[in-house]
Symmetry: none
Subunit: 199 residues, 4 copies
Amino acid sequence: MKSADKHSKIIRSATKVFAKKGFFNARISDIAKEAKVADGTIYLYFNNKFDILISVFEEEIGNLIEQVQKLLSAEEDPRIMLEIFATKHLSVMKKNKNLAEVIQIELRQSAKLIKDYRNNKFSEYVNIISTIIKLGQEQGIYRSSIKPGIAKRAFFGALDEISRVWTVTNTTKYSLEEATNQILEIFHCGILEPDASLQ
Amino acid sequence: MKSADKHSKIIRSATKVFAKKGFFNARISDIAKEAKVADGTIYLYFNNKFDILISVFEEEIGNLIEQVQKLLSAEEDPRIMLEIFATKHLSVMKKNKNLAEVIQIELRQSAKLIKDYRNNKFSEYVNIISTIIKLGQEQGIYRSSIKPGIAKRAFFGALDEISRVWTVTNTTKYSLEEATNQILEIFHCGILEPDASLQ
Amino acid sequence: MKSADKHSKIIRSATKVFAKKGFFNARISDIAKEAKVADGTIYLYFNNKFDILISVFEEEIGNLIEQVQKLLSAEEDPRIMLEIFATKHLSVMKKNKNLAEVIQIELRQSAKLIKDYRNNKFSEYVNIISTIIKLGQEQGIYRSSIKPGIAKRAFFGALDEISRVWTVTNTTKYSLEEATNQILEIFHCGILEPDASLQ
Amino acid sequence: MKSADKHSKIIRSATKVFAKKGFFNARISDIAKEAKVADGTIYLYFNNKFDILISVFEEEIGNLIEQVQKLLSAEEDPRIMLEIFATKHLSVMKKNKNLAEVIQIELRQSAKLIKDYRNNKFSEYVNIISTIIKLGQEQGIYRSSIKPGIAKRAFFGALDEISRVWTVTNTTKYSLEEATNQILEIFHCGILEPDASLQ
DNA sequence: AATGAATGAGCATTCATTCAT
DNA sequence: TATGAATGAATGCTCATTCAT
């Protein structure tokens, strides 16, 4: 019986190794050693190195989607939902640096690495944002002139770039709350000084 | 001068090849063939494969900075400057897909690829945004509560994610102008409906 | 007995798999699947992969020897005995392509594959030919100038090459009878035109 | 300039190594070491391991054909031509044991090893025999009832089996001349005692 | 006896880099 | 300067064999 245990143990080890070395510099033997199994055992659970990477995406992002959806299900106000999304995303990326690196770096190459791999889980995740924005538009809270398809990318891109710097520099110039608040302030209110009478 | 010619010819060829295949799948012989020189000739101009990648970054982003700075030098209104930056960035990324891919994908890995490589040119480029925001704050146009260091990442991240989708999907669901306008509307005015009396 | 059953079931499966893929490309798991047993079960009956191959030889050629000897036992005329041998050999090789391939191809490598393996059963089989020839010489039917040791190889080599082409090409340009008759005509009468007055 | 020298040096080394270990047990590094080149150098001259084997066949059998054709070109009597063929074949196989083994063993597997490889050179070589037989039939020397297509296989098979035993046993029970004479006697005159009045 | 998950040694092939010309 | 043939270290993956159950 191939155990589900071992499967996810390998996934977790692979996430760690991919994060540390990057997909191309990661060796199957590194992952095997990290997971404390033999090299060959990896191939009882995965077809090849690419398959491991895809599985990492699917499983880790799948978990993330599940968690976020659960948090959002209790909420109705899109402003708070957006806050929840931002807080959850940034906190997970801050806590799980390995996952953060894999998403920020390896996921980006995945299309080039793996022919015909359409990253559906990832799309699903980002689409949570546009769903929230559409909801806000229906409720009259968000401007109807905003295109959810563009805004979702802008919002995700902003979060992604913030968290990317955390993984790269290892320094935390700004706290999690500060970053979340700033992003929400920008997206909700813009950066223009509302009262200022400009020249 | 002959030498400088060949140097930049190799850089251009490398940009093309890295964009098409990614750094790891790019072969020195691919670059050499593209540049119409012998494999060994590459090593008269660069120390190794990593060195070529770094040079691609430095040269291509250096050009970009130069162009953007030139456009901005005639302008004083930070709102228009931000528009110029967004328009220039997106139009270059749309026109020069090779450069776009290299910046979006390979640049991200560079820290992992190359020990001790701090991407100064790239920081310099993104810092143009925070400089504009600070200028706006000094002029009382932008809120003082906005942290330029966070806002620059949010703004760049938004642009980057928009242009990333262009390179990945090869489809242009939204036009350049539309994307630029939406990004500016979001960053300047936010996404909240200002007049709506919310429950 | 259960055990013997499974033993020969594995032998038969191995013959099939070796014929189809060749010894080196045959996988233990292929043989196990064909025999409908677990991989590990194979090792309860055989020491290793080579041992399976040797057993295939011994068992299959053993059967062949038994059958041929039985057919020959009723006969006394060496000319008819040679005909029986040729007919039997070619018909078995034609019917049982798996066995044919294993004998023609894998058996040839066996000496190189398996140190110290002397293929006694095979020698025994080919020696049937020389025994018939000696008998013919004793009876004055065959020339005494013919060396049985050489003639047996010539006769077997001729049959082997004929049947080899059947397995390789899958076409039957010549029928079984035609081939048998020609071989016997050549060996018995030679290819010279007896009456022709040559220049 | 990739030298033709190195190409044939690798061919010769490969012949040696394939003969000694067999195709599957031969390592690329064995061939490289034998040829005194680096492993990678092999791949400047050949596409893969199979390609080396095919090249060995083509080159070595090509040489053989050339030599045999040259010897035969001066001759018109098919009986002598057949003798020349037999003598040449057996003497080459006796002298060049490596080539002999490769032809007798590896060539046999080639169809199974290499998809779509039709061994044209080998066919060409064996067809020399049928050409001689047809010539003899036209001259009225050989029986018209003999099918050259079958006789060529019988003749080649006989020679092949004789020489195979030389390579396997390393003993020379029969001399080259004796073997040649016996084969020719069998094929020309058959093995029947012509004068004997049989019961 | 039977199973099949786990093992880990083993190898073809690639490709960045060198260096004789 | 320029070439490109030669190098050889490095690694994903396979599969015969083992052994706990």
